[in-house]
Amino acid sequence: MSNSVFSVISRFVEEYRSSTPNKLKVIDAYLLYILLTGVFQFLYCVLVGTFPFNSFLSGFIACVGSFILAVCLRIQINPQNKRDFLTVSPERAFADFLFAHTVLHLVVVNFVG
């Protein structure tokens, strides 16, 4: 059982390495970074306490929001999804990504206190 799981995972990793374009890999690295940041914040909260609760919330929401926006960017940029996003060029996707991030940062900084 574990053997099959392990083989599935290694096949997946191999396919990922070979078939994904570099641009998407760059974004995936960014996603991993965001994920780890969020996880470490949550870990602090669980271990030490929720003392400045608003700060924790804003940091966590920042990570979650950034993750979502980066995922949206990745979907829109992916050449394999071109048919679903005919009106959206990669540059447009990036511009949307930047604008949404501006709004997110405004809210997060307001809430962090």
């Binding site: 570099n22 890999k25 760059v26 690295a29 960014y30 991993l32 970074y33 965001i34 780890l36 940041t37 470490f40 914040q41 870990l43 602090y44 030490v48 306490g49 003392f51 940091g59 060029s89 990669p90 540059e91 447009r92 990036f94 511009a95 930047l98 501006t102 940062h105 405004l106 900084v109 307001n110 962090v112």
Partner: protein
């Protein structure tokens, strides 16, 4: 069949009785003396001499004859007013004659016309009448009527009434007489107690004297109801110190007219001293006077009914008062009433003119109390031995102290009776007080009567130990008794009681209950800040949270992310600078600014960044398309081809969109 009728009649009579008004304000003898003193002040001019002399004559006091000289010397024969004052004052003095010349008479007669004011007409008519000169009454009446129709105010009409009372009885005074009723309608009723003109006390008093003067003159009863007369009495005599001589004069003349007129004489009934009767003071004394505090000797005073306040059963009925030294008295104790309060209904008869001659009085009958059969006993709780009873006589004290501890109860029983009649009494206050001489502590209990009016008091030491704070010792026992109808309140040290309490836990001295000493100060506790984790921990975690950034950079380098496609054009520079500025603005927002300022700066920087970024991305897009296009088509790229392709795409899509839209509407 008969009982509803009789009860209805009873209710009706009670209602009628309660509706009769009695004066709430009247002049006492001191007030009359004060009025007299005000009027007796030395006068400076003819006007004040007039008020003093005539005012005092109305109070029945004669003035010295030297005043006549004063009047004659101050008289100004060319002034109607001066003649009026002199004439009226000389009339009040005995043997004072004012010399009258023809010019004076002509002057006075000429003033009687429609053109003079009502005051002038009044003064000239009064002067003519007092000086004994003839006058034409009909002319006066017509002049007065014309004056009233021109000036409709209250004072004018009052002066007209006064003037009319000096005219001959043959004149047609009917119209002027009707003015009394109109004026009475103008009086203001204040809460059913007072009736007065809004012009004030003086006007009301002048109205009363004028109305009764005219009514007496024509011998017709004035159209004032009894209640109205009493309300007028209340208004006029409620003020006991007078601002001016004219006000005092008006009150004196009103008082005189109310005591001496032919129709209404208000009766003032007041008890002499407190209305309280006892065996030492068996007579109820009443003073029955008119408004000038002159006793009405012709009156006969009768008690219509005297009943107790609670039971309403009549003790006396139709009992007359006897007159002695101008005071009416009645020996009420002869009817042997029980102590308490009685409601007396008194009627004053003797003259049909009397007004408010039914009076309700509350009379108190007090008595002396005697304590009988005071028995003190100590009873065992388990009732194993019989109670030891000691009888104590008032006012002696029991010789031996009584012992009571947790196994015994201390009991007290006594009877309270009226000293003379022997009837059992239940005073309002019967207290038993235990006083600890050593500690100064005192505890008070109430002794209650049982159904046979025998007072009982029981002290259970275990039950009552909280009141005593469980302090054992010798307590002096006092009996306190008092009531409004008792003449001899009692404070009697009956005995000493030694109380023993179990588990004495109280302190040795009792602190007096300190109610008014400063209380301990309350220190304000500020909200403690929440406990923060140690700095080491937070620093460690900060480093941990920032560490994935390093990982990101490493991964990016490994993946080969580069900025080789960086186009060197002003828009890229501007975009990147603007973007960096926005991120910097976020930091500044966190540290210094508020939302409004941030939005302002963000608008500026953001719009710049947007324009630059738009340009930059468009150029990037063009680059991408030309790259793709050049891959597909060999040959030089043309920017125009790109635009052409975009336009074609746009046209294609817009046509598609419109087709769809029309389709929706055609369905």
């Amino acid at each position: 069949m008969s009982s509803p009728g009789s009860s209805c009649l009873l209710v009706l009579s009670m209602v009628l009785e309660t509706q009769a008004l009695t004066p709430t304000h009247h002049l006492t003898t001191t007030d009359v003396a004060r009025l007299q003193a005000v009027l007796s002040q030395p006068f400076t001019d003819l006007k004040s001499a007039y008020y003093s002399v005539v005012g005092l004559s109305k109070l029945g006091i004669l003035v010295a004859d030297e005043t006549c000289q004063f009047i004659k010397s101050n008289l100004d024969p060319s002034s109607v007013e001066s003649l009026f004052y002199a004439a009226e004052a000389s009339q009040a003095l005995s043997g004072c004659e004012i010399p009258v010349s023809n010019d004076t008479r002509d002057l006075l007669l000429a003033t009687v016309s429609e053109d003079s004011t009502a005051s002038q007409i009044h003064q000239s008519v009064s002067a003519l009448s007092s000086l004994g000169l003839p006058l034409a009454s009909q002319e006066v009446v017509s002049a007065l009527k014309a004056r009233i129709s021109k000036e409709d105010n209250v004072l004018t009409i009052i002066l007209a009434l006064q003037t009319a009372s000096r005219l001959s009885q043959q004149a047609e005074l009917g119209d002027i007489l009707e003015e009394i009723e109109d004026l009475a309608a103008r009086l203001d009723d204040l809460s059913g107690v007072y009736l007065q003109f809004e012009e004030g006390l003086e006007t009301t008093a002048l109205f009363v004297s004028a109305a009764y003067a005219l009514s007496d003159h024509v011998d017709m009863e004035p159209p004032l109801k009894e209640d109205q007369v009493i309300q007028l009495v209340n208004s006029i005599f409620s003020k006991k110190s007078w601002d001016s001589l004219s006000e005092a004069f008006s009150v004196a003349s009103a008082a005189e007219s109310l005591s001496n007129n032919r129709f209404h004489v208000p009766v003032i009934v007041s008890a002499q001293g407190p209305a309280a009767i006892s065996h030492s003071q068996p007579f109820l004394r009443l003073q029955v006077t008119d408004v000038l505090c002159q006793p009405l000797s012709s009156a006969s005073v009768l008690v219509e009914s005297a009943s107790t306040s609670s039971s309403k059963s009549a003790i006396l009925s139709q009992a007359p008062f006897t007159l002695r030294d101008e005071v009416f008295e009645l020996n009420f104790m002869a009817s042997q009433p029980a102590s308490g309060y009685y409601q007396f209904s008194v009627a004053i008869a003797g003259d049909s003119r009397f007004v408010a001659n039914h009076v309700e009085l509350k009379v108190k009958v007090s008595t002396r109390v005697a304590i009988n059969n005071m028995d003190l006993s100590v009873v065992d709780k388990d009732q194993s031995t019989g109670p030891k009873t000691t009888r104590v006589e008032y006012p002696t004290k029991a010789k031996a102290p009584f012992m009571a501890d947790s196994h015994q109860n201390f009991a007290m029983a006594f009877q309270l009776v009226d000293e003379t009649t022997g009837v059992e009494l239940t005073p309002h206050q019967t207290f038993v007080r235990l006083h600890n001489q050593k500690t100064g502590q005192e505890v008070v209990f109430v002794a209650e009567p049982d159904s046979k009016n025998l007072y009982k008091f029981e002290l259970d030491t275990t039950e009552r130990k909280t009141e005593f704070d469980s302090i054992s010792g010798t307590y002096a026992l006092y009996l306190m008794m008092g009531d409004a109808t008792l003449e001899n309140p009692i404070l009697w040290n009956v005995a000493d009681v030694v109380l023993k309490f179990l588990d004495e836990e109280a302190p040795s001295t009792i602190q007096a209950k300190t109610l008014y000493t400063p209380k301990p100060e309350i220190q304000h506790l500020f909200r403690e800040p929440e406990k923060k984790p140690p700095t080491v921990v937070s620093n460690a975690f900060t480093a941990l949270v920032l560490s994935p950034f390093l990982l990101l950079l490493i991964l990016w380098v490994k993946l080969g992310a580069n900025i080789s496609n960086f186009t060197l054009s002003p828009s890229t520079f501007l975009f990147h600078i603007g973007h960096a500025a926005m991120l910097g603005l976020m930091y500044v927002y966190w540290t210094h600014l508020n939302m409004f300022q941030t939005m302002k700066y963000l608008a500026i920087i953001g719009s710049l960044t947007f324009l630059a970024g738009n340009r930059m991305l468009a150029q990037k897009a063009v680059k991408r398309y030309t790259f793709v296009a050049s891959k597909q088509t060999s040959g030089a790229f043309s920017f125009r081809i790109i635009i052409h392709r975009w336009r074609r795409k746009f046209k294609y899509y817009s046509i598609l969109f419109y087709e769809n839209w029309i389709k929706n509407f055609s369905h």
